[in-house]
Each structure stands twice: as C-alpha cells, then as structure tokens.
C-alpha cells in the first residue's frame, strides 16, 4: 500500500480531564470512502475536530499527505484542502446562503473561474440551495442547513472531506440523496471522504472500509461489507443509543 492520504497514529485528546481519544490509529487512502461508526460519545466527532487541532492532540501523530499536521494551527489546516462539515452543521446564521458558500471558497486560494465552477457544482448537487441563495442561513430548515454545510465544505475543493453525521435530522429520501451525492463525488472526482455516522447501515454500504469506535478506541476495522456482517457491529448498531 502506498502512503495513505491521512494517517493517524496513537492519537490522544481530552476535554479538560475527560479523555475522549485514547490512542486511535486510522488510515485513509487516496480516493477512499471510510466510515467511522460508533455510539454517541464514543469520540467520533472529537476525532474529526482533533484533525483540525480543536482540541489539540495530547499525544500521537496526524499526517496528511506525508506531512505532519499535528501541531499545525487550525486555520492552516483548511488551506491544505481538508474540509469539514462539522457536528451541529455550524452554519453562519446571519449570513446569506451565498455568503456561507463563499466562506467555504475563501478557505483555499481559488481563481474566480474555479469559484464559479465550484458554486455551479454545489448548486447542481443541492438544487434546494439555489432557491435560497439570498436567504439567511439561520432561517433554513435542518435538512437545508445540512446541505449547506456539505456544500460549504465542497466549495474549498477539498482533497479530504470530513462529514460528521450528514444524514442527521434528514428525511430518509434526502439522506439517500446526500449519500448518493457523496458516492458520485467519490467516483467522478476521486474525492476522499471520512464519514462519521450513527446510521451504520447506510454508511458501511457507502464506504470502502470502516472503523468501529468504542469509548475513544478503535475496536474493529475492515471493509464495509465485512463489518456489516459482524455480530458485534450489528449489536452495536442496533443498541447504538446505549453506548456499547
């Protein structure tokens, strides 16, 4: 195997005294979709945020494209073209939809033409946003905000896209559309994706490989199809809410 696009080794992170990541190893190869599943509070979102240095890793190493980014300031991470659609969506509520997307484009140096093309692509992917371009982000429905959060992340033309619970709060039909969109981006543009989901069934079907996280540790990994067959995964997935 060649050098993975993202390589995480022995990663530890904590909020105050509460240790959220207790030594995580994870690899994502170029062009892969990797799913990270686990119960509420397992540390999935913390892992996503620690890649961006919020919180900073206490120990371990994060490498992106061979470069150590463990200590890189948060605002420089986006410039490496890693984008995140974070937990809770974090839309700028008092900015228009167009400005929210612009913020995504601002994250990396892009030409005007690239911006226009990127916007066109996002609006084709999520036509709902097109109707709402001048509306304030805070007035969108939950599903529309989710589309906006993903669209904003895509505007930076990322090499690695981190998606935290993209299907949360969405009607099943729209969730399916979003998963379909991710599959298309991966197939057509070779976009590399790390997707965190509680909806393990969906995510593992979409992903090439998956990791299962329990209490800040990776307990299982394998191909999506493989993991779906594992009894532990089925149990964890079904009992998800209770924390494995």
């Amino acid at each position: 195997m060649t050098t993975p696009l993202l390589a995480i080794r022995g990663l530890r992170a904590a909020y105050g005294k509460i240790e959220a990541l207790k030594g995580v190893d994870l690899d994502i190869a170029q062009g892969e979709i990797v799913a990270l599943i686990g119960a509420n509070g397992a540390g999935k979102s913390t892992l996503m945020m620690t890649i961006f240095g919020k919180p900073r890793a206490k120990a371990g190493r994060i490498a992106f494209d061979g470069q150590d980014i463990t200590e890189v300031p948060t605002h420089h991470i986006a410039r490496l073209r890693i984008a995140q659609s974070p937990e809770g969506r974090r839309i700028f509520p008092r900015m228009s939809v167009a400005e929210n997307l612009q913020m995504g484009a601002d994250a990396t140096e892009t030409s005007e033409a690239d911006r226009a093309a990127g916007l066109e692509r996002v609006l084709t992917l999520f036509p709902r946003l097109k109707e709402r371009l001048t509306q304030r982000g805070g007035t969108l429905s939950g599903g529309e905000q989710q589309m906006l959060a993903i669209g904003r992340a895509l505007m930076s033309r990322p090499r690695l896209l981190l998606l935290d619970e993209p299907s949360l709060g969405l009607a099943p039909l729209i969730a399916r559309q979003i998963f379909e969109a991710i599959r298309t981006l991966n197939k057509q543009d070779g976009l590399t994706v790390l997707i965190v989901e509680q909806n393990a069934n969906h995510a593992l079907r979409l992903a090439h490989r998956g990791y299962v996280m329990v209490n800040g540790l990776i307990t299982l990994s394998g191909s999506g199809a493989e993991l779906l067959q594992r009894p532990e995964v089925r149990a964890a997935y079904l009992e998800g809410g209770r924390g494995a």
Partner: protein, 304 residues
C-alpha cells in the same frame, strides 16, 4: 422653530462624533463579547495625536488647510490604530481564554493607563487650539435669530457619512468583513474554514481605533480643545449609544450615537444644561426596560 432647527444641527454634529466612537464598542463586543472600556481613551489619544501632528505640520510651514487636515486625519488614524492593536495584543489577548470578566477588568485598567500616560506626557491642563476651520452659512434669519451651519459642522457630518459608507461596504462586501462577521457568529467554524481568528480580532480593534481617532480629531476641530480626561465622559456616552442602539449592531451604534447627541443637545436647549447627562442616561434606562436588546439589537435566539 428656528431655535429648534439650530439645535437639531448641533445635535446631529455631536451625534456623529458619538456614533463614530460607538462603532468601536459595538464591533468589539460583537466579536469578542467584551466591553472595551479603554475605547474612550483611545478616542482621547486620537485627539492628542491630531493636535500634535497638526502643530508639527504648521511648524513645518504648511499653510494650506485642506492638505493639513488630510494629513492629520491619516496620521492620527494610523497611529491611533496602532494603539488599538497594541491594547488588544498586550491587555486582552493573553486573557482571552481566562474567565469572562478578566478582559473587562483589564480594559478598565488599560483605560487608566492610557489616561494617566497622557496626563504625564501631555500635562493635565486643557490644550486649546485656535479655530482652524472658520466660516459657515446662514440658513435662515428672522426676528434677530439666525440659524447657522458652520463649515466645521459640515465637515464633521460629511466625514462621518463618508467613513460610515466605507466601513459599511468593508463589513458587507470584503473578505475581511466576511471574516469578521464569521468570527462574530462562530469562531470555531471560522477557524475550520481557514480564518485566522486572532488576526481578524486584531483588525477589529484596529478599525475601531481608527474610527475613534477620527472622532477625536473632529472633537478637537469642533470644540477647539483636548485634555487627558475627555475620553472618559465621551466614552461612556458612546457606550450608552451602543447599548441604546443594540450592542453588537452596527447601524444601531450609529443610530444610538445620533439619538444621544440629539437628546443631550435638545435637553440642554430647552431644559437645563446641568442635567443633560441625566436626560441621556434616563432615556437609555427607559428604552432598555421596554427593549432589553436596544433599538436595533437582536434577541439571542438561535436555531440549534
């Protein structure tokens, strides 16, 4: 009616000065959630720098007033902005992750530092300047009463309007403005999108200080004096204006400034000068009872 028209003009001029200072309070509050109590003193520093640079230019033999004013404006904006930047850098940034009151206490301390520093450096006496801009227009004259609009009043109002137009454009349309609004709404997300939050906060202080320095210069030209204590009362008035308009709201700060200026002037004109501050603050209290977020402020409700 003539008397009222004259007072209206005076009130708008005073309100412009308050408004320029109020923007600095409201901007900083919006982005870092603290009241920068040293901001009034930054305004005072702006007045002093305008005075000093004016005297230097005159002693160099410059006589053409418009050029002098332009240079004084640019010099005092630049140097005062540097003060604003420095205050944030040494007094607030180290405390950003401390308990909530810490930067505010530090701001009160900074206010005294700037005040006493000016007192030591420039002396405690009022520094007068001879009228630099004279002349004006008589708008109306009847029964021995004259409504006058002086040139300095025109300059104050036009400068304020132009600066506000530039500032509004900057916040609404430029990358920096967008970054500032992003930091105001969600600093973590802004950082995830590549915004340098520290730099954006610094720029907020720089812009606020630059606007305050213009207010300081206008004050110097209009009243013909500066002293080390002038930032205190003007600062509190401008802060009141920001709260009245709705703290965090930029149009609110301008509107609040204008209202405080008008209230003060009209109260002095029709009732008693001694109680003009009481009038201004009473109206603030009454407005806050009925509109706790100020005139143009927004209630803190957000979709989760």
């Amino acid at each position: 009616m003539d008397y009222f028209a004259q007072q209206l003009i005076n009130g708008i001029v005073l309100g412009s000065i308050y408004g320029l200072i109020a923007i600095g309070y409201t901007m900083v509050y919006g982005i870092v959630g603290m009241i920068n109590f040293a901001h009034g003193d930054v305004f005072m520093i702006g007045g002093f720098i305008a005075l000093i640079s004016f005297l230097i230019l005159v002693s160099l033999g410059l006589t053409f007033v418009p050029v002098i004013l332009l240079i004084v404006l640019l010099v005092s904006m630049a140097i005062t902005a540097l003060y604003g930047w420095t205050v944030e850098r040494i007094a607030y940034r180290p405390l950003r992750h401390s308990f909530r009151l810490a930067p505010m206490l530090s701001a009160i301390g900074m206010s005294f530092v700037l005040m006493n520093y000016s007192q030591v450096a420039q002396g405690a006496r009022v520094k007068p300047v001879p009228p630099i801009i004279t002349g004006g227009y008589t708008l109306y004259e009847a029964d021995g009463f004259v409504v006058r609009l002086s040139n300095i009043q025109i300059i104050v109002v036009i400068t304020t309007v132009v600066l506000l137009a530039i500032f509004t454009w900057l916040v609404a349309k430029t990358r920096l403005g967008r970054d500032m609004r992003a930091c105001e709404q969600d600093q973590t997300m802004a950082a995830l999108l590549g915004v340098d939050v520290d730099r954006t906060i610094s720029m907020t202080f720089v812009i606020g200080a630059a606007l305050a320095s213009v207010a300081g210069m206008m004050y110097l030209l209009y009243y013909g004096l500066v002293d080390f204590f002038m930032g205190f009362v003007a600062g509190i008035k401008a802060f009141t204006a920001a709260v009245l308009g709705g703290i965090g709201s930029l149009p609110g700060a301008m509107l609040g400034g204008l209202l405080i200026g008008l209230i003060e002037t009209l109260w002095s004109a029709y009732f008693s000068v001694e109680y003009k501050d009481v009038a201004a603050f009473s109206i603030l209290i009454i407005v806050l009872i009925f509109l706790p977020t100020g005139l143009l402020g927004r209630p803190e409700v957000e979709k989760v």
